[in-house]
């Protein structure tokens, strides 16, 4: 209908030691879902579509809050065990911020389609999910973002690693951080690391989260400055 308006903005990633890959986001690009967003981190990109609050099908209905369902679709093939496990992780993270009590006996469905995976897929899924929730206008208690850290064999922290960096890493940690108090919503680890290293990664992720939250705010501000 309307010529899709394009706006490209570049910002230097701020913060010392915070070197995230270039990231970008598009909101409201699908017509059928109630909210949609595509999030790109370097060459990793995930498309999120959000439906709801809609009618609940089957016996999943909860009397006091909305049912949140997350579906993670891989780029090729059918979702397997890894996707199922990530779906649960994403679902619990989203449940922590979505004010589901305001829409009892309804269902909220979030479909995440992986478009390309070049490392840090889980954090990209988290960011896409948050932007999708924001686009759908669902009531949220706060925003969240995902940050992946990799510990390379020398013990140095690599933020937002690529697939290659993830393969070489000793441990890969992903955190979901909320925007209200910069607290951890979700933490997941692959590989082994010491408690100190985990704390260091968390601190680095929290610093990187500030950049992402500032991006969210600028993105929304630009959208409303036009209307």
């Amino acid at each position: 209908m309307a010529a899709a308006e394009q706006e490209e903005e570049k910002m230097a990633a701020a913060g010392g030691g915070c070197c995230l890959r270039p990231f970008s986001c598009e909101q409201g690009l699908l017509s059928r879902p109630d909210g949609s967003a595509a999030f790109l981190q370097g060459d990793t990109s995930v498309l999120a579509g959000l439906y709801g609050p809609a009618e609940v099908k089957g016996s999943k209905e909860l009397p006091d809050r909305a049912v949140l369902e997350v579906l993670l679709r891989p780029k090729v093939g059918l979702p397997g065990v890894v996707e199922r496990s990530r779906e649960q992780l994403l679902r619990r993270t989203c449940e922590a911020v979505v004010l589901g009590v305001l829409h009892p006996r309804t269902a909220i469905t979030l479909v995440l389609q992986v478009l390309s995976d070049a490392g840090s897929l889980l954090s990209c899924c988290l960011n896409a999910a948050c932007m999708g929730l924001l686009d759908a206008g669902l009531p949220l208690s706060s925003l969240f973002c995902g940050v992946t850290c990799a510990l390379d064999p020398t013990g140095a922290i690599v933020l937002d690693p690529t697939t290659r960096q993830e393969q070489e890493a000793r441990a890969v940690l992903t955190f979901a951080i909320d925007s209200a108090e910069r607290k951890v919503l979700t933490a997941t680890t692959k590989g082994s690391c010491s408690v100190e290293e985990m704390q260091q990664c968390l601190a680095a992720a929290q610093r990187a989260a500030d950049t992402i939250f500032q991006f969210y705010r600028d993105s929304v501000r630009r959208r409303y400055s036009k209307s």
Binding site: M1, A2, K10, M11, A54, E55
Partner: protein, 290 residues
Amino acid sequence: MAAGRGVAAEACVGQVVLPGDVLLLPAHPDEDGERLRLGAGAAPRGRLLCGPGLRRCAAGLLVTKCGLLRHRQAGGGAAAGGAYWVDSQQKRVGARRDYVGGGGEPPSCPRLTDLFVHEPRLQYVPVKGDHVIGIVTAKAGDVFKLDVGGSEQASLSYLAFEGATKRNRPNVQVGDLIYGQFLVANKDMEPEMVCIDSSGRSSGMGIIGQDGFLFKVSLGLIRKLLAPKCEIIQELSQLYPFELVLGMNGRIWVKAKTVQQTLIIVNILEACEYMTAEQRKQAFAKLSGN
């Protein structure tokens, strides 16, 4: 700016707020939200209303939707009075793309904007008093079930029509369109509709006639069309006579003299969401020319 710490609500009026932001309200010694107010005189002064997109929390107001913060002063002009709300009407004209990065080129990923056209649409949530267009999906004893586009079907009693009695039932069939108003719209209960006002009059509500065309538009456009002195409606009414029903749930029913005229109205209404006033005037000039 910084979420969590909280900012004064006045400073944010007209600014963009995001979920998780806390708005601090000016402290008032006599302000006590918990105390039950008795007597007419004391109630309106200093009373703060918490509009859509905001919730009360310990520190003040918690933002739950993104949008522009709006404020309306109370009649008396009390500092703490009035209403705050978040204007999250998504008047987006197209998909958006933003970049952040450590310099260099933006990511070389598929250009999604080039493939899709955005159509702003938000899920309808029933609100008490809203006038909507429902589709009858079932007749269950003495109530009809109506699909109103919400998460649940609304119920409509057969007695809630003008002049209806136990003897004299309204002739409603499955698939009929009904223009009515929400009497009960509560998150915990099934929404209930009526087709009469408080004095028992239909006041325009009831079963919508056989012909005509029903289509859906975004909720933002419906709000724009229902605004008093809406230019689009005024300009349309100068073209030729037609019937128009606007439901707050995003449904519009149109009927003109011929099918062609009906479809012209439909196309104009669907397109005017993305047209500027100037473009619309040109389109109308072209239509009234032939």
